[in-house]
Symmetry: D2
Subunit: 260 residues, 4 copies
Amino acid sequence: MISSSEPGDAAIRGSILIAGVGSAQGLGAAIARRFGREGYPVVIAGRNAEKLEATRSRLDADGITVRATSGDVANQEDVKRFVAAAAEQAPLAVAVHNAGSNRPAPFLELLQEEFEAHWREHALGAYHLARAALPALLARQNRDQPFSHGPSLIFTGASGSLRGKANYAPFSAAKGALRNLSQSLAREFGPWGVHVAHVVIDGGIAGERLLSKRPQLRDSRGPDGLLNIDAIADAYWTLHHQHRSAWTQELDLRPWSESF
Amino acid sequence: MISSSEPGDAAIRGSILIAGVGSAQGLGAAIARRFGREGYPVVIAGRNAEKLEATRSRLDADGITVRATSGDVANQEDVKRFVAAAAEQAPLAVAVHNAGSNRPAPFLELLQEEFEAHWREHALGAYHLARAALPALLARQNRDQPFSHGPSLIFTGASGSLRGKANYAPFSAAKGALRNLSQSLAREFGPWGVHVAHVVIDGGIAGERLLSKRPQLRDSRGPDGLLNIDAIADAYWTLHHQHRSAWTQELDLRPWSESF
Amino acid sequence: MISSSEPGDAAIRGSILIAGVGSAQGLGAAIARRFGREGYPVVIAGRNAEKLEATRSRLDADGITVRATSGDVANQEDVKRFVAAAAEQAPLAVAVHNAGSNRPAPFLELLQEEFEAHWREHALGAYHLARAALPALLARQNRDQPFSHGPSLIFTGASGSLRGKANYAPFSAAKGALRNLSQSLAREFGPWGVHVAHVVIDGGIAGERLLSKRPQLRDSRGPDGLLNIDAIADAYWTLHHQHRSAWTQELDLRPWSESF
Amino acid sequence: MISSSEPGDAAIRGSILIAGVGSAQGLGAAIARRFGREGYPVVIAGRNAEKLEATRSRLDADGITVRATSGDVANQEDVKRFVAAAAEQAPLAVAVHNAGSNRPAPFLELLQEEFEAHWREHALGAYHLARAALPALLARQNRDQPFSHGPSLIFTGASGSLRGKANYAPFSAAKGALRNLSQSLAREFGPWGVHVAHVVIDGGIAGERLLSKRPQLRDSRGPDGLLNIDAIADAYWTLHHQHRSAWTQELDLRPWSESF
């Protein structure tokens, strides 16, 4: 592969920070597993310290050693800590924003707090991650380095990033902000060697969050009718390793049987 | 015109609220003039009380009587006041969100306050306006009324609503949120008779804000090379009067000579 | 209205050519009626000479005198004749492409002829109309003329212009070609003063074509649940009269109750 | 990798057909090399029999054995031959449409033949490939097979697929048709297990076609400023091997330094 000009040494390969990690059966953990398995030093961050520690412990049992640091992606100081924790292990090579949830409601029953909370998780959190991670990613890029691919800044989006549906105003508005932010950063920092990508996940994810509430979906959607978290993690892995002459800015992912 | 089934009586025609009015040579004032000239009771709202009063006074001198009420569109209570002021004059028929500015900057020189301020003006302000205006617009729609067009909720967008450019992260993110919000509201409230539209203004506006800073643009862009505020106001007028069997959700407007 | 700087004289106002006119209860005829009522010399063109003559005769009975000329929009010589017929009456001010139908089918049951036929009607027809009409529209624009709006070239699109649905490959492919053609022409000829616009009609049209096959739709969709042809024609009228400082390139139209 | 459940046996892995192969330094050849190196039986097809044979011979010298079959992708019988040639070697697993060129010209200097020729190469060729390949791809999918990824139908697009630029009407129109066709097929055949993807190549390709005409581009664009053909081929490889629970429909690729 042309994109495989990567040295074996972890210190040189760099570290990855994943902000927005919950259960060991969630997407954040799957990304940690994917990169950790290949020798990347990994830092996982999330709001729920207990859940985060359980995930760290489970990954450890699977042979993937990661560092966990809890905090709120919407809090600037917390995010700076996340980035510092990753940079301590190796120069930061990848930062992933995977935080935020979706709580649909009829518009006229919303509270301002909810509209704002979605924005904080998805958009302000992404802003903080970008602000804290970009100097580290740029520093890495500016070295005389052997990579043909970039350091990467990857944001998790959804079908709601592309269009606003009825009852999804807070989520869609927040995801629309995140998407445009990612485009603005891609245009501003691409020419400096940082690969900024936005992943549009269009469909239900077969992770802990969805299946704990609606376990019947696994069957009713048919085989592979929900997005496999390891398959999504593969896409993040691939994005990071794309040769810098052929970068993807926006990647859509959906199950084969999804109607769209 | 099929869309002209409007009675002559102002009380029945309804009132219009324009949030985000500054100078008398700005877009907000032009919309006020357009609807006021046709007999709509008009309320203009803006943050700068002094400028707002000057605009009201100037409109008055031009024979357009409007009511001015100052306040911050990002403040829920202020927006409730705006809506109440319009509803006092006649049932609310049109609410326009035209607030917010654009202060581009290199991303790494931004303060969190600036990122958030853009969101408050463009997206949270639009949220508040929608929350406060929709019950009034729905009430009007629910009456046994003679209109073939809807009450309208119109948001001002920009080319940055569609894509994020380098150095425009705060504006693009805020406008992306607003756009998705408008789509979500269109899908939720269209079937209840409220026309929710988003206007993408793609180019420089020949209004006070731009021309006071860069007066040379008027000439360098050639004749009609900037968007005429009265021409834009015509588009808002037309959107409101579209027959409900043929509504536009998103309208782009740009000068004939604009490169896009 | 700023856009109303139009002289009263028909010779100066210019003529309109509508290619793709069928029944008197169709969209093409509604556009003819809209412009004819205001004194525009009108030429209607369509493939079915008999139907076209019936429509001309019906418009005449309604007090709208138009000239009818039959032929195939996918045939270059026919389209040249259409344009010449309009230019004979007055300098060409508006050309509308409204031709083509939609015959969905499972992809594996398609014949090449069908795939190609859709393209000829929608895309090649639009190409011919543009090629034949643009010199006339540019000639008009180049005169020392009193208009603040442009001569116009307007194309009829559909929701299938924006995305390809299952079983709609021929229509979607043809409409996608037409849409990109319209954008290319807008960018090439806008700066020369020709307004090129694309109308996305998203929903069923309450015209003869749909209602003769599925009359029950008029009721099942509820009041104004199909697009009123006069309301659509209003949109074409408005597009042509937009001030050149604020042109719309793409206009979506859908019924208030349409799910989208 | 979750997507790596692929057996080692070439007969089971299936064959790949690449329609639109020219020089050995072009994208088509790079895709052939990428799949051939991994043991896929490869058929390359192109209009220029001599050039095709030279490419086949060069690949052979590099240790990649492929079969070459010349013909025109816009000709139904030729395309049937291409598919049959691939299916002879192993059940068809991947079909790639990579044909067509771009010959920009001022719109008013175009000949109808040119407008049509672009459509034949890009859109009608894609139609023929889909018609001929889908039954073979579906047959493969319907077997009791061990794959977690689909058989694939991949189309090469460009930035002109998304928007029409001045002077690019024939190319943009043809590519717009192709894009909507790919979406229609994705929605129709995805639920039957066929992965239909569209690759938007946004930038100059560092292949023989561009560099033979404008060799200076290699330097003036800076390092990796043109798309490396092997990097693009990697993306096609990855698309084919995506787990069916997380398929990409549209993938954009551009150089890190490209302005977009």
